[in-house]
Every structure is written in structure tokens, then in C-alpha cells.
Amino acid sequence: MSRKSEYEQSDAKGKILLPKKRCALAFSLKEPDRVPIANYGLEFAAIDAGFKIGEVAVSSQKIVQSTIQFLTKYDFDQQLNLSIDPFNIEAEGMGSKVKFPENSMPVITNYAVKDHKDIYSLQVPDPQKAARMPVILEAHELFLESYGDKYSVAGLFTSPFSLAIGLRGYINMIKDMKTKPDYVHKLLEVATETVLEYGRAFKEIGLPAATILEQFASPPNLSTKQFDEFVLPYVSRVIQGLKPMSITLGGVWGYSFLKDNWKDLLRKIIASGSASTMFLDPDGEYIDIKEFKRISKFHRRSTFSGISANLIRDGPRELLRERISKHCKNCGPNGGYAIFALYLPPGTPPENVLAFASFVKEFGTYPLST
């Protein structure tokens, strides 16, 4: 059967779809054959493919090899990040120093902006030349060329706020926000231009969608007031500036910290123009996830839910099964939903990763069992 007819067959109800089609249907608020399974984090895949973490961090070929081997072996539908440490890439490109341990994740050891005057020498880097930015772009290009007919490929880059932290450090940013807010806004301006430039490079490769990774700007790391002033306007600019790419503001957690006000944060994320919404464990245990999905769907947004890394690694298996069942039952009905492993730590037993995927198939196959 030709690839084209394989796609045509897979459109029909009751047929098993290719991962790309499955994801496309879910993200366009439709019901695929089953809930798509995605993964965030590439360390497990790198080690499983026989590589050292440090070598995958700097090699586009090894990123692609690790990813495809993982997707095929564990029957996942999408890898959300084609990089080991996506939150360091732009900051490194702008001059922050990164250490590359052989067997663990690269870490920033020296921030580019040590002193307030350093901001004036910051420049928007050329994504085709600066540090590892070209490596990551090449990994996406290679993956798209080789496997883009079967799998969805989306870009992933850092949000302006989290990038600013990669340039200045969290504690310094918090202090600056109190005593020198104008300076923080200047830093965020440069960060926003950098993210836009990097995003355009993803767009030029031909990627239709991307996620902005916002690992820092979540309650309680920031107050809602700070989120409104230092995060939302810049994220919205990136989302609007990269249209028609479909951009999701991902990685925001801490809904449960806001108690009854969690819906306000969700509505702000929707208002930013984010293409999808996302909640991550342990928030799923404290907020009404059915209502989360309802609000998202009402605003024509698909929903992702992230399952705890430690639960997948350590079990107990029965609890993992219950968690996946709960997420699928509450968020799965009528489609528009995908589930993902919220990072697979190195050392996770491979049989637990297989169990994760099999539980999603058990509870996430349409029509969902009631």
C-alpha cells in the first residue's frame, strides 16, 4: 500500500491512524482513534539508545536517532522536545556559559548578565550560527525530512521570561523586579526579540507549530500580578509575531497553588493566544480537570495533561493506571486531548514506559468506555 493510501485509510473511523494524523485530529479538537501519547524530556531516550547525555546534547544526528528509536520502541506518538536541555539553548546563544557533564543534563554555570550594564551589550543571536541553536534547528529539519510523513514535528523554544532568567538568574530577576522593573522590561525586550528570531527559524524549516516553554513563570514562582506584568505581554507578542504558526504556551504549572482562582490563570493563558492548554501533575490531583478541559474546549483549545515523572518511574503501577484512567475519562470525551509523560527520568524501568503507553491505549481508545 502506498503511503498516500495508508493516510486515506487512516482517516476512516475505526481504523488505526498514523501518529501524525492522530495528533493532528486531537489538536484540531476532533476525536482520533485514541488519545495521542507524547513525551517531554530526552535523557531517557538518549540513554536507551546507547548514548551519553552529554553527546546527545550537542549532536543533531544523535537527537534524531534517540527520538525515533524511542517513539518506535515504546509506541509513542510525539516527542515534544528535540533537544536535551531546551531551556538553555537561547541563553547559551546569548552568552550564558553552559557546563556539559557527560552523564547528566547541561546546566548554566555563568549568567550572561552579571551586572545591569551588561544588558546594553546583549545582542539578538543569529539562530543559524549561535552556540547550539543551529544544532537544534538541524535536528528538527532532519527529523522532519526523515520521519515527517509519520510523526508530527513541532518546535520548542524558551519563553521570554524564562530566557531572561537563563541570562540573569532567578534570584537576581526577583530582586530586579522589585527594585529595577524598568531594567527587567529592557531585558525582556531583548529576550522577546531573540525568541521571535529563533521562532522564525523554526517557521522557515516548515514547522507548523511550536511550544513556548515557560518553566519559571508559574505560581508560586511568580505572583499573578508579576505574571501579568512580566510574562503575559511578552508571550502574547511572540504568539502573535509568529503567526500563522500555532503556538502553545507550555510548562506552566502551579494551578493548585491558586486554589479557587486557578481558572483565572487558565483564562489568561487562553487570552494570550496559546493554541492549546496544559496542566501538569500534581495540579491534576487538586483542580477540577473536567472543568479545565471544558473551559479549554469552549475557547477552541485542545488540552494536554502531563503525568508525573516520579509516578512513571517508581509506580506503583496500579496508581499510574488509575491516574491515566482519571485523565482520559475527564479530558478525553469528544477529542481535543493528548496525554504526555512529564519527563522520563533516567533510570525509569523500560517496562514502566511500556505500561504507561498501554494504559493510555486501554483508557484512551475511542469510543471511550464510560
Binding site: 547525555i53 543534563m105 554555570t109 532567578y170 534570584i171 522589585k178 514562582n221 511568580l222 515523572a309 517508581d314
Partner: protein
Amino acid sequence: MALKEEILEELQKMVIEGDYDIVFEACQKALDAGFAASEILNSGLIKGLRIVGKKYEDKEFFLPDLILSGETMKEGLKFLEPLIEIDESSYAPNIILGTVKDDVHDLGKLILSIVFKAAGFSVIDLGVDVPTDTFVQRAKETNAKVIGASCFMASTLKYLKQISQALVESGIRNDIIFLIGGPPVSKKIVETVGADGYAKDAFEAVKLVEQLLNSKQAS
């Protein structure tokens, strides 16, 4: 008297509002008003920090509030420490905190440090990317009662086990409470590492340490 109370309240307010850049002026004002440095610390700064800790625990405050209060406390201490007469018998139990080797994440450890100080502990912060031997050596030097090792990345979990083994080899494992923390840490990891426990957040960690210290004392 009312004026004196106002001065202490102003110090507390500075910690609550995180006025790290001007706290030393308030400390000087308190000294000029006749307060002893230890009183400024205990009835002003630490009292303020306790209020912040409670508000953070009750989810009224966010992390930046806690961080700025910690920074205010740090700046105040810089000013007051040389003026405080040290009475070794009044030392609170020492707790050593550090992030394991190859890991430079500071935030979790910083929160712990602030909350432990607010609870009256004497905290020795070894910083980040701390070699295993340093944890053991500093514990011996300071006669620490507790070691709290932080690990943010799953790929550096192996160093927690290394610290545990080094404590056994150095002969001080039974004298010390060894706690671990960080996103990849779980009950199962505690068992694998051979640690005494872990906590989901800084406040739970303080309760756990108090409980473990009491049981140790009782036995």
C-alpha cells in the same frame, strides 16, 4: 516604649515586604535607639521572617515574597553579625544544606535555608555543585546534626547514594540525620539511597527534622 515597639515593627515590616536594599538603615536606627544586635535579629528580622513563612505556607504569599524576605534577612545579618556576641551553648542545631555535584540548581535549597532559619535552625549553606567529600568533611567540622542534600536532576541522583555511603565510611552516619530533596526524589529513592527521609516542601522538611531530632534525643 511605643517608639521602641514601632522600631521593631518597622524591621519586621521590612522583612515582610522584602526591602533588602534598605534594611541596614533600619538596623542602624534600631541600634541607635539602644537595641542590642541580638534583639534586633530575634525580635525584628526573625519574627518578620516567621510571618512570611506562615503566609507562604498558607499560600497568601508567593515565592518571590519568600526570596526577598530571605535576602532582607541576609543583608540584615551581614550588618548585625559582627555585633552579636556568640554564646556557643545557645547554638541551635546545625543543618548543612547543599546541592549535589554536577547540579547547580539553587532555588529549592534557598527556600529550605530561609524556612529553616525562620524555624530557628543554624544553617550552613555549602552552595551548589558540592563534591560528596565536602558534605562529610563540613558535617564533621561543624558537628552538624542534619545534612540536607538537594538534587534537581534525575541524572545526578547517584550522588545522593554516594553521600550516604561516604557518611557510613566516615563513621558518622549514625550521628547524623540525612535528608534528601528535589523533584526526582521519591519514597523509593529514599530507600535506594539509604537516607532518613524526604519532604514535599520546606515546611514539611522542618517538621520532619524536628520529629527526627526528637526521636533521636529520646533514644
